[in-house]
Point group: C2
């Protein structure tokens, strides 16, 4: 085996620099990634998972992760809820579309209802799960800006906001937590 | 230079088969791609572009293409309109989110208004452009199922449908044109 080695070059017929293999010329085309997730409710409570993995291990999040090949966004959000908390969910509608261009992410976040609360278990990427009342949300210990946004937007939806998906809060790009902390580049 | 050579294998710590380089072990992680586009209106007419490139060269489409790294969906839709028809557009809102899982695409289609109609030119991927009235749309010569959907949905929006993004028409996955023709796997 040889060692992977890539250089940034503009491939023939392209206009942007891409990672090109120094050994064989393979072009590592990269595109933005789609994150799918859900705010899952049960009896007025919201499902939160404490992350077992980096980035932001130990912080709380909603079930979310990368969409896989040949998957619809709804199916991906259901799979993530199952993987992270063995949660079986019914999706009701799209809550929000967030964009985090710094890390090339588009996030599709759904509203959902928990179907079998007795089945909840922490998955391999989850330290623990909780069903919290809105006033119990650990806002100081949430993993990502978009988790803040999604929880606030879900509460607005619950309070009667029209069923138009929310976007990023005005002026926010997902770089900074509400407490001013700037996230590392690999963070969701 | 050596020749690129990949095998499908499940990398250590992963659960899905990925393309892994036989020479250096590089894992070619692939995720679904985001297509951004717009239905662009001017004086009751809609901007259509005839494709100069495969797939579906010679057929009509709306300005759309792959979102690039570090780009918001809105910025990507504006860039595509500029690239394909030198169109300067103002985005009004999200018209639809379509999913074509067979080719691992999620499409974000916006409604937009043309700002400088006199500046329209065919870009390198466009044979010609037209501003057509809705009754002039060449429905038999549209490039992709999602172009049909977007044009129908834009007309529904124009007729007063609430500003909730449309999704795939019931039961449709983007595999088949209205005339029954099944699209090849690489088609948008």
């Amino acid at each position: 085996m040889i060692t992977p080695s890539f250089s940034l070059r503009i491939p023939e017929g392209d206009e942007r620099a891409r990672r090109v293999c120094d050994h064989c010329g393979f072009v590592d085309y990269q595109n933005p990634k789609i994150v799918v997730g859900s705010v899952v409710r049960h009896d007025g409570r919201i499902l939160l998972c404490r992350r077992a993995i980096e980035p932001r291990a130990g912080f709380w999040t909603i079930p979310a992760g990368y969409l896989e090949l040949n998957e619809t966004p709804e199916a991906g959000a259901m799979r993530e809820a199952a993987e992270e908390a063995t949660a079986k969910i019914a999706i009701s509608r799209l809550l929000a579309i967030y964009s985090v261009p710094r890390i090339s992410q588009v996030q599709l976040i759904f509203r959902a209802v928990l179907e079998e609360p007795e089945a909840l278990r922490a998955g391999p990427e989850t330290l623990e799960w909780r069903l919290v009342r809105p006033d119990e949300i650990p806002f100081d210990d949430l993993a990502f800006p978009s988790v803040h946004w999604a929880l606030r937007h879900d509460m607005a939806a619950e309070a009667g906001a029209p069923p138009v998906p929310f976007g990023n809060p005005e002026g926010e790009a997902g770089d900074v937590l509400p407490n001013g902390e700037r996230l590392a580049d690999e963070a969701l």
